[in-house]
Symmetry: C2
Subunit: 127 residues, 2 copies
């Protein structure tokens, strides 16, 4: 778990797609802040996390709080998008090999949620 979390933080620094690929379990599930339906399977999780990395990777993103309990971590972040303050969490569960099996994102406030939705939708349409 600690290895997995360290690998995630490393990925957030250098955005190496191969590193992300190694980090996601085959049966991983992604839970978007915007839609209810879980996105199951490594390919979909990679697609969402890559798009999120592009949308959030504007130089203002930083983790501000970290709760770790057993195989799970709650990482709170802050960033700015088009002048809007975005606050949210990555709620991540790792397997015994340190790979991500479950990744859930929540965003506040509502203005930020709408902005993330807009930018993510534009990004997903272009892929």
């Amino acid at each position: 778990m600690k290895l997995g979390l360290a690998a995630w933080h490393r990925y957030m620094l250098d955005s190496d797609p191969d590193a992300l690929d190694d980090l996601i379990a085959d049966d991983a599930v992604f839970h978007s802040p915007v839609v209810h339906t879980p996105q199951a399977g490594r390919a979909k999780v990679l697609m969402y996390l890559t798009a999120a990395g592009q949308v959030f990777g504007n130089g203002t993103f930083r983790y501000v709080r970290e709760l770790i309990d057993g195989p799970e971590a709650c990482l709170e972040f802050e960033c700015e998008m088009d002048g809007i303050a975005v606050n949210g969490i990555d709620l991540i569960r790792f397997d015994l090999e340190g790979r991500i099996v479950d990744f859930k994102v929540m965003i506040r406030p509502i203005k930020a949620m709408n902005k993330v939705w807009e930018l993510m939708a534009a990004r997903m349409e272009n892929t």
Copy 2:
């Protein structure tokens, strides 16, 4: 911290306003899922948590995951509002006496966020 968290869970079961009153520190801050501006001070925190208790207290609310790390807890919940599935977290920091000093709520997906906003606004207008 464990005492504080136990007291919070007890309050969620019996909704005793006196118990909530004892649980909030004087300088506590509430961070709404909907608006950016923090609500500072015991009176405002009590007002928001009481309104939230009424909106979420429809018999479907349950905590489904709990991460505890030092003085902080991330409690994930699920409930239903007007047929809409609501998923969210209470991110709580306790002081050394087990009182709540910081309470942040996040909600997903966007449909649920809009529903919570609608119901909370109606509730706050009536108080």
